[in-house]
Symmetry: D3
Subunit: 266 residues, 6 copies
């Protein structure tokens, strides 16, 4: 079931470098793409710079691939113009290129910020309504909608993964709930690309933390079982910093600082 | 509770002309906007042409209004470029201008095409997941997400109305379920702008038809009770045309022809 | 959309005679079948006696029909042998003959006794689990399951109608809730055979009574809206009889006397 | 099915006087009780003053009755001492007396203030969690819990009616949603005391208003169908007063002014 | 709490032999029954051949037993005649004999094929509607309905276990989700027969696999916690075979090949 | 995040002594209160006797505390007078004192007897309706309602913990499901007082037992993950005693003996 050629977009970013390092075994060839320079291609790798706003270049990058790990685009709050180029137009370009190239499966890095205005006391699952906490979050809702359209109309499968916080360890108290360990991220990618049938599920990308806001039980058919827990880092965090006050919006809403921030200003 | 100045966008379209004709009583002044020419302003009216893609013009149009009936933008399937200008960028422009101008309430004409890939056998309510049947449908999901963000973060209330088919009478068998009578549309606008508290509800815009796919009971607090039924037109339709075959996607999915169509080609 | 030939089974029974009298307009030809003698065929009618346990005869009866109103089989509690012949083997014969003959749509007279052990305080809808109150009720669960199989595997649509109590008027206090007026039964048949797409819904067959145990809102797409109410008969019933005691199983369970009865003894 | 003796507590209050005037037909004898003086007994009436805090007197009042319409106790926010006497201790006295006297059925006037801290945008039904907006509301939760205990353990049936606002007409904009017309109140009492089996349902006491916060569909088996609507009074209210501001807690929460008020001070 | 005499039907089949070998400790005597010959009775065993279609013989076999592990009947797709004899008539015989003999508890081996036409993306629980994928699956729905009737009306408790795939190890990719390890099957039988109160639950018989389609959380009161996982066999399976294509019905539906097959032909 | 002063009420009881012994690390000072004598204060401890019915004394006890572990009041079925003093009036006193003293967070020891009349076959979660099995259970519903009011109106956070059976080991078969190990109780207290934001959740206090009636998944944000299981004690219990009969109310309902008992008599 090994893929022929897996495209990884956003390959120069944090998740992209992790994926490059760890997911080589999923495909005969890994094609790496980003808008910025990447380190040169190693064995079994191809490297192609690409601005997602440039449809012709996106088509070149997607051509010949049977699957895509889409980590590209803007990954934090930015001006509407920036977000529009990478996450609206660019996202559309990616799916339209995938349709023309016959790509069958995508892992789309959506974000918890698509649902960031839900209060923390509310357990979410795959059917919870969106509640974006930022323009960035809105753009991820848009991406999830495009993925759904291309599944229903053209049969392209997508795992719409609302990634929490994927770092070596949690960096603040909020991440005790949202932390996705690098190993669990790798396991998730493997599960998504090996599943006999994927469909178009919403999956929350968090490890098996003691603090949980998200319930993946509806998508148990994907077969991803996270193994790590943020609990090992709690004492260290408690010693290092004080969590925000009870009523601080950064503490009330799942989106944390994104929900607490005002409108983005350049 | 009369509004001071109500902006109606898309005022030259079918719904826009209906609104212009019937909703004058809601506000001291009605400001009419469209990208195309409109008939000259009558008493209590202001007329301003505007391309939603032009942020400075949108700001001028919104300035001084306390409420917006947003019917503007693209209203059928079109190329991504057209949809992006009117329904992504243009929609964002509208909300951002509303935030700067202190607008408090919006009725956003979303569409049943935001959920058009649900099968007809599935009764939907305000919490049903989106399932767009077209790029147009995706753009309406985007608009609903922006509305949610501006409600949660900036307190602007929006009725996100997934309009069915608003015509003088149903034009095909599908519209027996989706028909929204002009009178019920007017009643809905009145209810939305008079409600003591609106929040950001999803409302399905269909009359009290015998065939029903959509359940508005979760938003009973808005106080809209449609009065008309498509049933009166059934015999006429049966005489005039044959419905599509049982397994035709245009007959299986709520979006009808939008769900059955392939990708938009200019 | 007129049917070519509609088969009505159980045509000699109460519902069958009602259907024969009122549903002639649905099809060019009505074929009437029962295990007992029926009155001779009138214009546009065909009459064929048939034991549902005899597969070859069932095939002859079904041949040439495009739709079936299946009222046949045992309609009250009986010995397992009787129920097995008519409602297990006979039901299977009917669907298997329908599959071979290319029948596209069936209205299957299931029964409230398929869910008769639910307490009256529990509002049921199309997804409520079965709870048969008798062998008869079990046989209706079986029939609903066969219908589902033939829909999923062979595309034959069935309305699985859990009929309440269809008489000229309610005969006891329980029927204030379960009463299905003859007119509403006729409207239901019309809706089922005219729907552009039916699928395989569960529909509760009760009029718009004030006392309600069953919620049909999930199947609003069928377009059946009952018009009558049992309330007009309440005073007459109160004058005529006393309802059973609060804790009498015949008063606690939806199935009434069926739930209260012991095992069937010949 | 006429009751032998129906006790009406709180008979001197607004609802009590309405019940006295309209519900005489439910029982051979109506026994009226209140802590204050009432007008003398008419034909078929008995009048007994009673402080619910006095258990021996409560036993005398309940003795010989087969049903109770419990409107007594404190009906607005008061000090804990007052509420405790009437609505905690007094409520317990009533049920304990009912148990000893063999009373079979009670209509308990609970209140919307038992759920008054739910936002108006949230449609409630019989299973929604409590959210009291006052000590008064807490006391109604207590009463609903006692009723449940006496049903499960001792078989006394209670309709736990969360009454909205029962007046001749709505007195402010909130009552457009919460209004219970006197006629609908009477119909509700009749339905509760005539139902063949009642159990222990939660029923929201509001008319068929256009603005709705409460869904009684789970208790359709009781057979109460309200007939009136507050809509007839909307124009009069709009002319007479301005509703509270969008973000005023009295406008956000179902409990209105109760939710907006601080702690009760004598 | 040891049982006096536990009847195991279908004792010559795969599950039956496993049960015979491992469940001896549950009862003082194990009675083994099958339509075919079994190895002779060992200590504490009784062996009786029996065709479930023969009621008198079934009565003899059931007499004297206080519990039944019902593994008998047809266990794959067969002609209606065969299924009818073993799984309709035979199943009824078993319960009717149990009622007459005073049996109190049954573990009924239902099957995942009772719900096999649900898509794999849909997580099922105990209340999910049936969707049989075969006549065999229909017969299991029938059996579950009979069990429910005998529980509600006669108080016989049944665990309705929708067994997945109980083999020493998974034999294809579908079984990664449906696999029930022999040890977990044994643990399940022990939990069912030791539970202080069983009722009539639906339990999905699958191990603690990483790929999950079925959620047993509603029946946590039974106390069965599977311990094994199919994950240990994944690499071996990947090396040995290719899973079916994404859109193959055998890959789309939970029933696998049963859902993909046409009508059974001898 | 260490608390300044944590008040533990009911400190002389079983849970109170456990808390005193194990929770010293949560606060700089632990204040211990009970209506009976306690052992003298150790380092970091303060000891104050208090009858919860005496408001002035409750105010003195609460003054200066920033958090409360409320284990006080009556903890088994008693006369209404006793329960009223400790669990109605006393509970109100505690919250009113907390409001005046500026306490921010409470762990309220509610009880499974608030929901004890649910049958064991019904899995409960945080939104399940109450069903008290005793006056004691009713008083816990009252306490949960007061906690909710003080959260919504005054911002005091409370964990409403429906404690199962907290003993060194399970003492009867029912406790196989309800057992809360002392270590898990301690972990729960730690999680509640360390959570960055608590709100007013309902939490079921049971360990990770194989038999489960209660589902805490909705409150995963609290971060409590029980570690122990009653399963280790099953064999010992089986050897020591026989569970009650299947239909014994003590075996049917979650409340066990409380549900089976009649009205409390002194």
């Amino acid at each position: 079931m090994k893929l022929k050629r897996l495209l990884i977009t956003g390959a120069a970013g944090g998740l992209g470098r992790l994926a490059r390092e760890r997911l080589g075994g999923l495909a005969e060839t890994i094609r790496l793409s980003d808008v910025v320079e990447m380190t040169p291609a190693g064995p079994g790798e191809e490297v192609m710079t690409c601005d997602l706003g440039d449809f012709e270049r996106v088509r070149e990058v997607v051509e010949g691939c049977d699957a895509i790990l889409h980590l590209g685009g803007v990954s934090v709050e930015r001006s509407f113009a920036e977000i529009s180029n990478g996450n609206l137009t660019g996202l559309y370009h990616l799916y339209e290129a995938a349709r023309k190239a016959g790509v069958r499966r995508v892992l789309f890095a959506s974000s918890n910020h698509a649902i960031g205005f839900h209060p923390r006391e509310r357990m979410l699952d795959a059917d919870s309504p969106f509640a974006p906490d930022s323009l960035y979050g809105v753009s991820k809702v848009f991406g999830e909608a495009v993925a759904m359209l291309y599944w229903e109309k053209f049969g392209i499968e997508t795992a719409r993964v609302r990634i929490g916080s994927c770092f070596a360890e949690p960096r603040d108290h909020r991440m005790l709930a949202t932390w996705l360990s690098p190993d669990d991220f790798v396991r998730l990618c493997e599960a998504v690309f090996r599943a006999p049938r994927l469909g178009c599920p919403v999956i929350y990308g968090a490890s098996a933390n003691a603090e949980r806001w998200w319930d993946n039980s509806k998508v148990g058919y994907v077969g991803w079982v996270p193994q790590d827990s943020s609990e090992a880092f709690r004492a260290k965090l408690d010693a290092a910093m004080t969590p925000p006050a009870v009523d601080d919006p950064a503490n009330r809403y799942q989106g944390g600082g994104f929900a607490a921030a005002g409108h983005y200003e350049d």
